[in-house]
C-alpha cells in the first residue's frame, strides 16, 4: 500500500510540476507550444546537472550555485549542505528498501540510515532556528530586512506556497525524528510501534514531496517577478 501511495504521489507531483512549468513557459513565451516546453524542461534539468558534474567543472561552487547555496549566509551554507546530503541519503536508503525489498531496511544500510538520521535531525533543528523568521508568515516588511533575497523575488502566491512547503517539510521532519525516537523508547507496545513505523514512512513521504516542490519553486526562475 505504501509503495503504491508513494509511487502515485511521487509521479503525480513530478507530472504536476512539469505541467505547471510548461504552462508557465507558455505564458512567458507566447507562440511556443506547451508540449515542446514541457519536453524541454527535463533536458534543461539534466543540462543543469551535467554542467555541475562535468569532469572539468565538478566543483562544490557549481553544485552550490545550482542549489542556490550562495544566497545563504556563509555560516549556514554547511548546515544546508549537510541537511541536503543527509536528506538525500535518507530518502534513497529509506524508500528503496521500504518499497522494493520485502525485508525492508536492514544491515549496514540500516546503520547508515540511523547515522544520517542523526545528522539530519541536528541540521534540521539548526536550519529551523535560523530560517524560521524568513519563512514565518509575517508581513513583507519583516522579510525585506532579511539578507536572503529568494523570497522577496517571488510572486506573493508562490512565496506563501514556498513557506507552506517549508513548514510542511519541517513538520514532517519533526514527525520523522519523533517517530524514530519513540521506537527506541520502551514505552510503546508492539501495535503502537507498528503504527509509529507507518507514521515514519508517511512522514518521510510528505517530507520528500514537500522538498521536491520546495526545490522546484526555489530552483526554477519562472516564479520570479
Amino acid at each position: 500500500m505504501f509503495t503504491i501511495i508513494t509511487l502515485v504521489s511521487f509521479f503525480g507531483l513530478i507530472f504536476s510540476l512539469l505541467f505547471h512549468h510548461s504552462r508557465r513557459m507558455k505564458a512567458q513565451a507566447k507562440g511556443i507550444s506547451v508540449d515542446s516546453k514541457t519536453r524541454s524542461y527535463i533536458p534543461w534539468l539534466f543540462n543543469q546537472l551535467s554542467r555541475i558534474f562535468k569532469s572539468s567543472s565538478l566543483s562544490w561552487q557549481k553544485m552550490a550555485q545550482f542549489l542556490r547555496i550562495q544566497q545563504y549566509p556563509e555560516k549556514e551554507r554547511w548546515i544546508f549542505l549537510s541537511l541536503i546530503a543527509s536528506f538525500v541519503f535518507l530518502v534513497a536508503s529509506g524508500f528503496i528498501p521500504a518499497m522494493f525489498i520485502r525485508r525492508g531496511l536492514y544491515g549496514f544500510l540500516l546503520l547508515l540510515h540511523i547515522g544520517f538520521g542523526g545528522i539530519f535531525a541536528i541540521s534540521l533543528s539548526i536550519i529551523v532556528v535560523l530560517r524560521a523568521r524568513v519563512y514565518s508568515f509575517q508581513t513583507g516588511k519583516t522579510m525585506s530586512n532579511d539578507s536572503s533575497a529568494e523570497l522577496k523575488e517571488l510572486t506573493p502566491s508562490y512565496a506563501i506556497m514556498q513557506k507552506i512547503l517549508f513548514w510542511l517539510f519541517i513538520i514532517a521532519g519533526l514527525l520523522l525524528i519523533v517517530s524514530a525516537l519513540a521506537q527506541m523508547l520502551p514505552f510503546f507496545s508492539l501495535n503502537s510501534q507498528i503504527a509509529l513505523t507507518e507514521v515514519h514512512r508517511y512522514a518521510a513521504l510528505v517530507s520528500l514531496l514537500s522538498a521536491i516542490a520546495f526545490a522546484y519553486i526555489t530552483l526554477t526562475d519562472g516564479f520570479k517577478r
Binding site: 535531525a121 520502551p186 510501534q193
Partner: protein, 778 residues
C-alpha cells in the same frame, strides 16, 4: 429362478448391512457433553481376548488392545503422535531424536523414523523393530514400532518369547501413584514386553525374565518346570484385592494425564542443577498441566503447539494452543482490550521491542530455556540420558552431551532456541555418501582396541575374587590410582600418599595406603616367606583363569622367575633381563609381556575419569583394522572408513596418519525446545536491548565447541552467529552502536524539542496574524 434371485438379494442386503454394522463400529463415540470421566470398572482381557481370572494358576498379563478396545478404538489411537513415527506422513517440526549410545565404541547416533535433518532412519541402518524396542522401549509407551505385525518381524527377533509391547494406556492415564515407570523400563529390558504394562500399573507382580529363555519358548509353553532359578519364564501374580467377584478391576483413569507421567519421558534438567533448586515451567507453576496445551482427542493426534502446525495439518482449531494463539488470540490487531486467547491468557504488550523481533524470532527465543550465558547450558533429557529409572544401580548416562539454548534459524526462517548434540559414529564413505556402522560390527573387527579399560578391570576383578587379599587391588600409573567400579570399569583417584616406585603397577589399597601387590623380597638372600609365597601362587593362579590370558602368568624378581606348575609354586632362574622388584608378566613365545600393554596403560591414563572414551591412537588403529578387514574380505574393496566426533570427520590419509576434516555428516543435530517457559519478568531482553545487542553478546557470539567421545584438540569450534546465519562484523558493529544510543536518543530528543518549539511559535504567530490579534496590538 425367482427363489435364486431372492436368495441372491438377501445375501447382498445382508452384506450391505454387515458392512454398515462394521462402519458403525469404526465411528468414534460422540461426546454427550458430560464433563466427568466414567468409572472404569472393567474386566481384564488377555492378548487372546479372554477374560483374566486372577486366581488361575498361570494368568496371562492384561492386554490393552482387548481390555480397552470395547470402548476405545485401538487402531485409531495407534495413529496418534506417540505411536506413529513409522507410519506418519507428516513429520512436523523436528523433535528430540532417540540417541543410540555405545560408549565403548564411542557411538552417539541420533535416530528417528521421522524424516528430520541430521537424524538417521533406524531402518536404513539395519536396526530392526526388535532392536529398537529393546534399546528404547524403556522410554516408549508401546504401540507403533514396538508392536510390529507378524509379517514385519525380523529373523533374529524374539517377539514370540517377549510378546509385543502394546500401547501402555495406563502409562499416561493412570491417576494412581502406583504407576511405576521404573518398573516398566526394567520389564522391557528383561524382554518381558507383554508383561510390562501389568507390572508397571501395579495390577500384579511380575517375575521371571524372557531374556533368559530359549528362543523357542512361547507363552503357550507356560512356566519352565526344569529351571526355577535362572531361566524362569515370566509370570504375573495379580493382586486379588483389586478384583471384584466378577473379575473386574477398577482403573483409576485420568482423562487428562498427570504431568509426572509426561515427565517420565519428557524431563529436561540442567546437569549442574540441584533438584531443590529446580523451578517449574511458568505455566505449570500457574497450575496448568502439560495436556492443557498438548491436547488430543481419541485419535491421540497430540498438539505439539509450534507455530505453523495448524497450517501443516490443516486444522485451524489448534492455533489457539500455540504461544501466539493463546496469548494474542486470533485477532492480533488490537491491544490490551482484546480478550486474548484461551482463559484470558495475559496479553503481552512487548513495549519497546522493535517489530522486527516478532518477524524474525519465535516466542521461545526470549521466553524459553535457559538465558544465554557465556557458556551453553548442558542438560540431560529423559530419553537420551535414561532419566527416571530408579533403583540401586545408576541408570542415567552423561552421554550424550546435550546443550541449549542454541539459537538456530529454522526452516521457516525464524530464529528458535534448540537443543543440540554432536553425533559420533563409525562409518563408511562411498563417494559423498556416509553410512554409519553398527557398534557391534566395529567392535568385532577392532578386537582388543576398545578393551583397554575392561582388560585391566578384569585383571583387578579376578585378583580381587580369587586371592583373598586384605585390601582392594588397584592399578597405579601416572600418579593415579585406578580401582574397579561396580559397572566393571575403572574409577580413578589421584594418589596422594608417598611416592610410589615407578615400577609398581599392581598394588593393594588399604586404609588409603598403597602397597605393592607382591611385597618386596630378595630372592638371592632367602626364600620368600610362606605368606608371600602363598600370595604369589594365588595371584598367578587367579591370573591364569582370565579368559583372554595370552600366556602363562609369571612373577619375575631380579633373576628369578616364579610360576605355578602342577599346583605348586616353582622358582626357576630367569635368563632374561632381571627386574628391580617383583613384577608380574605373561609368558608366551618364550618371552615375557607385561600384564597391561603400553597401549592399554596410555589409553587408560588418557581416558579413564574423562568424558572422552577414545584416543586418537585407538581411532587410527580401528580405522586401519576396518580397512584391513575389508581388503581381506574383498580385494577390490576401496571403502573409506571414518569416525565422526566433535563435529569433525576422522579418516586415514595417504601417509597413513589420522586427519580431521569437516563434513555435513559431522554437523550437530538440533531440535527446537519449547520449555521451560520463564515468566515475562525473566524473559530475554527484559533488562534492555543490550542483553543481546552488544559487542560481546552471548546471544550472538557464544562459542560452541564440538563435544564427542574422542579425546582430541581437533573439534569444531563455532560462534553462535553461524547458527543464526548472520553476519558477524555487522552484528558486532550493530551491538557497538548500542553503546552510543543514549547519546543518539538525546540528540533526537533535543532536536525534536527545538523544532517542535519553533513550529509551535510560528503556529501561534500565524494564529495571531490570522485572528488579527497581532495587528490590533500594533
Amino acid at each position: 429362478m425367482k427363489r435364486i434371485k431372492t436368495i441372491f438379494l438377501i445375501i447382498i442386503c445382508l452384506g450391505i448391512l454387515n458392512s454398515l454394522a462394521g462402519q458403525t463400529d469404526q465411528t468414534p463415540q460422540k461426546w454427550d457433553g458430560n464433563r466427568t470421566t466414567p468409572v472404569h470398572l472393567i474386566p481384564l482381557k488377555d492378548e487372546f481376548n479372554q477374560t483374566i481370572v486372577p486366581s488361575e494358576p498361570y494368568p496371562s498379563p492384561y492386554s490393552t488392545r482387548y481390555t480397552c478396545a470395547p470402548c476405545h478404538d485401538y487402531d485409531l489411537i495407534q495413529k496418534g503422535l506417540h505411536f506413529n513415527a513409522v507410519s506418519s506422513i507428516q513429520d512436523g517440526r523436528p523433535g528430540e531424536p532417540w540417541v543410540w549410545i555405545d560408549l565403548k565404541t564411542g557411538t552417539i547416533l541420533p535416530l528417528s523414523y521421522r524424516k528430520w535433518k541430521g537424524m538417521w532412519n533406524p531402518q536404513e541402518l539395519g536396526i530392526s523393530s526388535w532392536d529398537f524396542s529393546l534399546m528404547f522401549g524403556r522410554h516408549m509407551n508401546g504401540g507403533g514400532i514396538a508392536e510390529p505385525k507378524d509379517t514385519e518381524q525380523s529373523k533374529e527377533s524374539r517377539w514370540n518369547v517377549s510378546g509385543k509391547i502394546e500401547i501402555n494406556c495406563m502409562g499416561c492415564h493412570n491417576a494412581s501413584r502406583i504407576q511405576d515407570h521404573s518398573e516398566w523400563a526394567k520389564q522391557v529390558l528383561r524382554q518381558n514386553f507383554r508383561w510390562a504394562a501389568t507390572a508397571s500399573s501395579g495390577l500384579g507382580e511380575v517375575g521371571g525374565m524372557a531374556s533368559r529363555l530359549s528362543g523357542t519358548w512361547d507363552i503357550y509353553d507356560g512356566p519352565n518346570p526344569d529351571d526355577k532359578e535362572w531361566a524362569v519364564a515370566p509370570f504375573v501374580r495379580y493382586h486379588p484385592d483389586l478384583f471384584d467377584s466378577k473379575h473386574r478391576v477398577f482403573f483409576d483413569i485420568a482423562y487428562k494425564p498427570d504431568d509426572s507421567l509426561c515427565l517420565n519421558c519428557h524431563s529436561v534438567s540442567p546437569v549442574e542443577m540441584k533438584k531443590f533448586n529446580a523451578d517449574n515451567d511458568v505455566h505449570r507453576a500457574a497450575g496448568m498441566k502439560c495436556v492443557d496445551c498438548h491436547r488430543n482427542d481419541i485419535s491421540h493426534a497430540m498438539i505439539r503447539g509450534y507455530e505453523g502446525e495448524a497450517e501443516e495439518i490443516k486444522n485451524q482449531d489448534i492455533y489457539g494452543f500455540t504461544c501466539k494463539g493463546c496469548h494474542l488470540g486470533k485477532d492480533t490487531s488490537g491491544g490490551e482490550n482484546l480478550s486474548s486467547g484461551r482463559l484470558g491468557a495475559p496479553y503481552p504488550k512487548h513495549s519497546g521491542i522493535p517489530a522486527i523481533h516478532f518477524d524474525k524470532l519465535s516466542c521461545t527465543v526470549c521466553h524459553s530455556g535457559p538465558l544465554p550465558g557465556k557458556d551453553f547450558t548442558r542438560v540431560r533429557t529423559s530419553r537420551a540420558n535414561r532419566l527416571g529409572i530408579y533403583g540401586i544401580a545408576q541408570w542415567y548416562t552423561e552421554s550424550p552431551a546435550i546443550i541449549e539454548p542454541a539459537f538456530i534459524r529454522d526452516e521457516s526462517g525464524k530464529i528458535t532456541p534448540h537443543r543440540l548434540i554432536w553425533p559420533a559414529f563409525w562409518g563408511k564413505l562411498e563417494g559423498e555418501k556416509v553410512s554409519p556402522l553398527k557398534p557391534s560390527d566395529v567392535q568385532a573387527i577392532a578386537g582388543d582396541i576398545f578393551e583397554a579399560e575392561q582388560h585391566v578391570a578384569r585383571i583387578l576383578a579376578i585378583i580381587s575374587l580369587y586371592t583373598e587379599i586384605d585390601g582392594t587391588p588397584v592399578f597405579v600409573s601416572a600418579g593415579n590410582v585406578y580401582e574397579l567400579n561396580q559397572d566393571g570399569g575403572l574409577d580413578v583417584t589421584p594418589y596422594s600418599g608417598l611416592k610410589i616406585s615407578s615400577e609398581i603397577l599392581w598394588a593393594v589399597k588399604k586404609n588409603g595406603e598403597i602397597t605393592s601387590l607382591i611385597p618386596y623380597f630378595d630372592p638371592d638372600a632367602e626364600a620368600p616367606e610362606a605368606e608371600i609365597e602363598a600370595r604369589i601362587q594365588k595371584i598367578l593362579e587367579a591370573l591364569a583363569l582370565l579368559p583372554e590370558a595370552p600366556g602363562k602368568p609369571v612373577l619375575i624378581n631380579k633373576k628369578m622367575m616364579y610360576r605355578v606348575s602342577g599346583g605348586y609354586l616353582e622358582a626357576v632362574e630367569w635368563p632374561g633381563k632381571p627386574t628391580e622388584s617383583p613384577q608380574l608378566f605373561w609368558l608366551y613365545d618364550n618371552q615375557i609381556h607385561p600384564l597391561a600393554t603400553e597401549f592399554e596403560i596410555r589409553t587408560i591414563v588418557a581416558t579413564v575419569g574423562h568424558e572422552q572414551t577414545l584416543t586418537e591412537e585407538q581411532v587410527e588403529l580401528v580405522l586401519k583394522s576396518l580397512a584391513q578387514a575389508e581388503s581381506q574380505k574383498n580385494s577390490l574393496g576401496k571403502s573409506d572408513y571414518l569416525y565422526v566426533s566433535g563435529g569433525r570427520m576422522f579418516r586415514i590419509d595417504e601417509k597413513g596418519k589420522l586427519k580431521a576434516t569437516e563434513h555435513p555428516a559431522a554437523e550437530p543435530v538440533a531440535w527446537p525446545l519449547g520449555h521451560q517457559v520463564r515468566p515475562a519478568q525473566q524473559s530475554l531482553g527484559k533488562k534492555g536491548c543490550r542483553e543481546c545487542h552488544k559487542a560481546g553478546s552471548s546471544f550472538f557470539f557464544s562459542p560452541v565447541k564440538g563435544i564427542g567421545p574422542l579425546l582430541t584438540q581437533k573439534v569444531e569450534e563455532r560462534s553462535s552467529h553461524s547458527f543464526l546465519r548472520l553476519d558477524k562484523p555487522y552484528q558486532k558493529l550493530f551491538g557497538l552502536s548500542f553503546s552510543v544510543r543514549p547519546v543518539y536518543k538525546a540528540v533526537l530528543f533535543v532536536s525534536a524539542i527545538v523544532i517542535g518549539s519553533v513550529v509551535l511559535l510560528v503556529f501561534f504567530l500565524l494564529l495571531g496574524r490570522l485572528s488579527g490579534l497581532i495587528e490590533t496590538r500594533r
